[in-house]
């Protein structure tokens, strides 16, 4: 029981991060039916920016080129939070710029060019990050108390404060997203565009601007996800590669066009990974390697039996 609870908590922890990145993927898919393969690398880059702003201004290569970045951030949590906010803002601007410059010139119904562009971005971001900051993993501070004693004991299992914190951040993020999408004019425009681009354009919604807004939101949330996961995975340019696959699985399970689905899918994938692979690993340690394969199997199963996912809208094509 204790072991089961422990795995449950671990799964919830991973699941929250998958959910955050999956929300970013879904935001872009909802508006454009495109998948951003560079989402993970954008998040990694944003997390590096947060790292430079908060942690080691002298150690980081970028601080030499961006002199202003080497200001000392006071004591941690607050400094870190501020740094993450700034990094999210920078990511949002980058996301918007990418949409405007690289994505908008192409017809969104023709998938290949956009896939190629986002894969090209993936390569560039990954290798430039490796060039600037090398591939050695760096410890990234957690936003929450993460000492060895910082946990709540439930049934003998440790519910760590970081897990509670990750959940709190995810909740705040969803609340913010809900507020933006339902209570602001930009959010209304976003919902109009994702429901029917052409009609939205006809009633005067500025579609291009709205998509830029969607990309900006997605990039900001991606960076938040990266900052949440970096304390656990250690910060390095390949940090997000595997995580992105899990988030793909989360988004597919939940339904690629459903924000609620992304959250539920993320938690589902996190739990399946932690519990199933955990028990398989007890049976034979060789099976631990299968955690990525489980994500792949989840995608495969969902596409077999319910292609629209748990919460996605089934698409009806009019011929």
């Amino acid at each position: 029981m204790q072991l089961f609870l422990q795995r449950l908590f671990d799964g919830l922890d991973n699941g929250a991060v998958y959910a955050v990145v999956a929300v970013a993927l879904v935001l872009i898919f909802k508006a454009t039916t495109l998948v951003n393969f560079a989402q993970g690398e954008l998040a990694m880059f944003g997390t590096f920016i947060a790292y430079i702003l908060a942690v080691e201004p002298d150690d980081a290569a970028l601080s030499y080129t961006l002199g202003w970045a080497s200001w000392e951030v006071g004591f941690l949590p607050f400094g870190l939070l501020a740094a993450i906010f700034v990094a999210m803002a920078i990511s949002a601007a980058t996301g918007a710029a990418i949409e405007r410059v690289l994505i908008r010139p192409f017809d969104p119904t023709d998938h290949l060019p956009v896939v190629l562009i986002t894969l090209g971005l993936f390569l560039i971001l990954n290798s430039v990050a490796g060039y600037l900051w090398n591939f050695n993993p760096r410890p990234f501070p957690s936003m929450f108390a993460s000492g060895t004693d910082d946990f709540v004991s439930i049934g003998g299992a440790r519910l760590r404060h970081t897990v509670i914190g990750t959940w709190a951040v995810m909740g705040l993020m969803l609340l913010a997203l809900w507020f933006i999408l339902t209570k602001t004019k930009a959010g209304l425009a976003f919902r109009a565009v994702s429901s029917n681009t052409e009609s939205a354009r006809l009633v005067g919604v500025r579609v291009g601007r709205t998509l830029m807004f969607g990309w900006a939101l997605a990039a900001a949330f991606g960076t938040l996800g990266g900052s949440l996961v970096a304390p656990k995975l250690f910060l390095q340019p390949n940090m997000m590669a595997t995580l992105l696959i899990f988030s793909f699985a989360a988004a597919t399970v939940g339904g690629l066009d459903s924000l609620i689905g992304a959250v539920v899918g993320g938690i589902t994938i996190g739990l399946i990974q932690s519990i199933l692979v955990g028990y398989l690993g007890d049976y034979d340690p060789a099976f631990i390697i299968l955690s990525l394969a489980v994500a792949f199997l989840c995608i495969l199963t969902v596409l077999w039996f319910k292609p629209s996912g748990l919460f996605g809208t089934a698409r009806v094509e009019r011929v």
């Binding site: 190629l116 090209g120 290798s127 990525l292 792949f296 596409l303």
Partner: protein, 376 residues
């Protein structure tokens, strides 16, 4: 007939036939001379690299069949190459097979895996196949490491596995090729095997594309609804295309094992192999047969060049930049550009076969060069 081309030929005429014989003859002569030229100028090592470019061209050809001709986006060619290479290694090392006998098994296995992976995604429109294949490409190396059911023993796990069975030309072949039995010189022998197999793969694929199933595939790409209305079974054709593409990846895997005599899971990942293959395809030219080979050559030799310049870390960024620039400014790739140039030099007027309506005349030799006759 105001084409502006320097040379205008009527399809099927004697001049056209002579033109084909001369150009193909020159090409084949060049292909035969190439390993000797490379050996003389740079040593046998570059012949091995040429072999790599040739079999990766077959893998890119498979990718092209899916992406270029059927308009689906699949990114798991690295995994299929890996399956082909691992199956070959295991059959040779654990079961004492010969190289050539592993070809049908490897291609069959990759075809089946391709179909199984492809079916669920291919029933639905949209980017699902891209998502699924990215996940498959990322998962494959971890599966090859699984230390269970003998998988890691067969693939070599994290350390990879050497193939002890060396390819050595029989003595009569050695005398024809003018090589001796040192291991270095076998690169030339392997070149002829790999070039022959690649030529066969290209020829078969070309025929496939120009046949009825090929036209069905292209029709699906151009207008899915229209194709379905014309009686084309969409899921069947899509799945078969994906399976054939995977089988071509498997063939490339067999040749990979032949050429390098070593397989390791870290070579078959998404970032190290699947993305470069896609970059090669895009540089060469999507939906052109020649593009596969041009892209492969560019990737293998230019990639080496940037590594030699000490830009190892940034070579990935360079490829990413090329990918974006080509997508923006030259969607036809190198071959698309070359075709425009060639159209200024040589022009072939299509000639409908007797008894066939002019509109049904496409699909004959060198259809890519055919320019419709302008209305007078």
């Amino acid at each position: 007939m105001n084409s502006g081309a320097m040379l205008t030929l009527k399809q099927g005429s004697r001049e056209h036939r002579n033109y084909l014989i001369v150009t193909w003859g020159l090409f084949i002569l060049f292909a035969i001379a190439l390993p000797y030229i490379l050996t003389a100028m740079f040593g046998e090592f570059q012949v091995g690299r040429m072999n790599r470019a040739l079999y990766l061209a077959v893998a890119i050809l498979g990718l092209n069949l899916v992406i270029g001709y059927s308009g689906l986006i699949a990114l798991a060619q690295s995994a299929f190459i890996g399956i082909g290479a691992f199956v070959t290694t295991s059959l040779i090392m654990d079961h004492g097979w010969d190289y050539w006998m592993t070809i049908p098994i490897s291609m069959g296995a990759t075809f089946v895996v391709g179909v199984l992976v492809g079916i669920p995604a291919l029933r639905i429109k949209g980017l699902y196949l891209a998502l699924l294949t990215v996940a498959f490409a990322a998962v494959f190396p971890t599966l090859a490491k699984l230390d269970k059911w003998g998988i890691a023993d067969r693939t070599g796990g994290v350390n990879g596995r050497n193939i002890d069975e060396k390819i050595v030309a029989p003595s009569w072949v050695q005398s024809i090729l003018g090589i001796d039995d040192t291991p270095d010189q076998q690169a030339i022998y392997k070149y002829f095997i790999i070039a022959g197999l690649s030529a066969l793969a290209f020829w078969t694929t070309r025929n496939l594309i120009k046949s009825r199933p090929g036209r069905a595939i292209i029709a699906i790409r151009d207008n899915e609804t229209g194709a379905a209305v014309s009686g084309i079974n969409l899921p069947l054709y899509k799945t078969l295309t994906f399976g054939v593409s995977a089988a071509l990846g498997g063939l490339a895997g067999v040749m990979w094992a032949m050429n390098s005599a070593f397989v390791g899971e870290q070579d078959f990942g998404f970032a190290p192999l699947a993305i470069p293959l896609l970059v090669g395809l895009v540089i060469g030219g999507v939906a052109t047969l020649e593009g596969a080979i041009v892209g492969s050559l560019v990737w293998v030799f230019v990639g080496e060049f940037t590594r030699n310049l000490g830009l190892d870390i940034l070579s990935q960024a360079l490829f990413g930049l090329i990918l974006i620039l080509v997508t923006f400014f030259a969607p036809g790739g190198v071959v698309g550009f070359m075709k425009q140039m060639k159209a200024r030099l040589v022009r072939v007027i299509p000639q409908p076969p007797a008894g066939v309506l002019p509109s049904a005349s496409a699909g004959d030799d060198l259809v890519d060069d055919v320019v419709p006759e302008p209305a007078v």
